[in-house]
Assembly symmetry: C2
Homo-oligomer: 401 residues x 2
């Protein structure tokens, strides 16, 4: 990823700094994304009932106008932290807002890291000051912010788009995200900040973001643990053109947002802890979209399926059996399955296949595809997950002690 091909929306500045949330670590752990103009903000959040304090704080506010700042720390999730946690989330917003000449009410917050530990507020205050002093509009500033929100991620996860809208305006979108469900030893939850210089009404921003997330960030999984902290924020500041998008322009924007999230979402399971394969699951012919998603998700979270792929074992019975246990009703005699394009199961019965050939195909490709065919309706979905390796267990067996 180089600056040359990365499109940054106008009117934003970024910073990522180390403020010492983890003792003796130099890792960047505090990020600011600042809009020069008050921006429309939308948010989509975890459905976990024990959600983090930052989720409570942001959810009360979005969708809205007038947001200037998104402040994120990595290392402490501020989740399961009771009333003190809520107080600290508000305080973090105030520190970050004030550091850049805005208010707490103009600031949204995100936190990721270990659950059940209170935010170290002295470090958060220092991080806000330090980051405010380093804000810049360039790609390397954006990259620092994107690095600061990472926990156990091994790769930067950023994408961008520049599009000309049907009525002529050129707008840009850029996004950074981190983590994958709760895969990491650091409780690496999924966070994303998306910025654009288009102008959007709050309800339009919310709808576009919600729709994009349904087919992307809500279709990735590592072990199926919806974290306490999952948050996806969209800021739209209108720096390219202050008139809120409508009609065909709004549609084109929503399409670009979706496409960008489609590029970003699979990066999460692909960078999961100890992952050796990214698995893309296509379900077609399900009774409806919801059923398709439930079946894909059940396959995606199945330890037996995931260990088989880790071992390049074309043990397709586990995939078929996983769809059968999820509660969706279908005719088992009309199910077929392809793995990496090889037909292994057709209309409810096994197909003769060359095990070695299929096994080699899995072993030699990081990207593995499952195609599950039903004959019930037009429900379909694409879902992404990772395999399950001994490395995952090692990394997750011993974190807080």
């Amino acid at each position: 990823m180089t600056e040359q091909v990365f499109y940054l929306p106008k009117g934003y500045r970024y910073a990522g700094v180390n403020c010492g949330i983890r003792p003796n670590s130099k890792k960047l752990d505090f990020a600011l994304v600042v809009s020069d103009l008050p921006a429309t903000a939308a948010g989509v959040y975890t459905q976990n009932l024990n959600c983090g304090a930052p989720v409570v704080y942001d959810r009360e506010r979005t969708p809205c106008k007038g947001i200037r700042v998104v402040a994120t720390d990595s290392g402490c999730a501020n989740a399961c932290t009771g009333k003190t946690g809520l107080f600290n989330a508000r305080k973090m917003a105030e520190y970050a807002g004030e550091a850049v000449g805005a208010s707490g009410d103009e600031t949204l917050v995100m936190s990721t890291g270990v659950i059940g530990v209170q935010l170290p507020m002295r470090q958060i205050a220092q991080g806000a000051e330090k980051a405010a002093a380093k804000l810049g509009p360039a790609y390397h500033d954006f990259e620092k912010a994107a690095t600061a929100i990472m926990t156990t991620d091994t790769k930067l996860k950023v994408v961008s788009r520049q599009i000309q809208l049907p009525t002529g305006t050129v707008v840009r979108l850029a996004a950074m995200c981190k983590g994958a469900a709760m895969i990491g030893p650091n409780m690496a939850t999924m966070l994303a900040t998306i910025v654009t210089d288009a102008a959007l009404e709050p309800q339009d921003a919310q709808k576009a973001l919600f729709d994009a997330v349904q087919d992307t960030f809500n279709c990735v999984s590592v072990e199926g643990h919806t974290s306490t902290s999952d948050t996806c924020i969209l800021l739209a500041n209108g720096a390219a053109n202050p008139n809120p998008l409508a009609g065909e322009d709004l549609k084109a924007f929503a399409a670009a947002l979706l496409e960008m999230c489609q590029e970003l979402a699979p990066m999460i399971p692909n960078d999961g802890e100890g992952v050796s394969h990214l698995i893309t699951i296509d379900v077609v012919g399900a009774p409806d979209r919801e059923s398709a998603k439930l079946m894909a998700q059940t396959v995606a979270n199945d330890a037996l399926v995931k260990t088989a792929i880790c071992g390049a074992d074309p043990n397709w019975g586990r995939i078929v059996s996983a769809t059968g246990r999820c509660g969706v009703k279908y005719d088992p005699a009309k199910v077929s399955l392809k793995v990496n394009g090889f037909l292994l199961y057709e209309n409810g019965a096994p197909v003769d296949f060359n095990k070695e050939e299929v096994s080699n195909s899995i072993r030699n490709n990081r990207n593995v595809t499952f195609e599950l065919f039903f004959q019930e309706g037009d429900g379909k979905i694409r879902f992404w997950t990772s395999d399950l390796t001994t490395e995952y267990v090692h990394l997750n067996a011993d974190y807080t002690t």
Copy 2:
């Protein structure tokens, strides 16, 4: 386990033999349980839509009177095998029935092992003949049958009871089971055969079995994969007293059956592949029983919880977060958690605790307890699961190839 303390019901004979379902294996792989008298039979089966052919065969028949034989093979699950599989399940019942002078209609069948492979019928026919020639009423015969149904189980799983019913009759119950969900590299599904010399009407047998299974075999999990083949069969032959139980006698019998299953069920996750801890999860104060079960089950199947226990890591945030993601509504500010008796989380906020002490307690005890307290209602459940170890991944990463 010795014959002295094991109570065998009257009027049953057992055998376990090797018939060569797996090439070059001497493992016992074919079991017969034969009742001298026609017995009442009840069955509880997997809810997996892609259920095995033996499940289809048995489910059509139970509850009923007149069953003489339960035949079980280990090594081939006869699941996802289409019409050929259904034909073979019926054929297996006929072979087994005829070998002992009964008919296919007097025979129930169970199969466990790899999915998607047709039953080797020549071996099954040989197994039936061979087992019929070895039938015997003693504990060592029972133990051979119990051994023959095992796949990757490392320990025999058998229990028995003798009770005097309120009206004076003494009856005996004995049970054998194998496996745990789909944990094993051999698709080690859960199978159980329970025999008693009490007499039961089919509907009473069905109700007693169903009720016992709800709180026992339906409350164990290793990775949450409801297999294609889970089957629990109860035979009641009336050899102790031909009059069907009623009233207080029936209640006493049901209580003994439940108690026996409570002893048997945790043996399954405790013998899971690569397991180093048996985790007992108690949920109390949930809105209702169903909610309690959903929360316990979500915790039980959570890879992050299971890896943490494997590593003796008291990372309680993962447990609390798992209950929050399962869809049950509750007040997060009224949740408390104990692990091995240590209070770690109280009314929605972390409690100071000695991490080393709790970690040592997990490390040094194979049995780990979670107690989750809610303040919503009187819903409660006890659920059993295992931890997740690198050994589990090793064993499951490479089976069919």
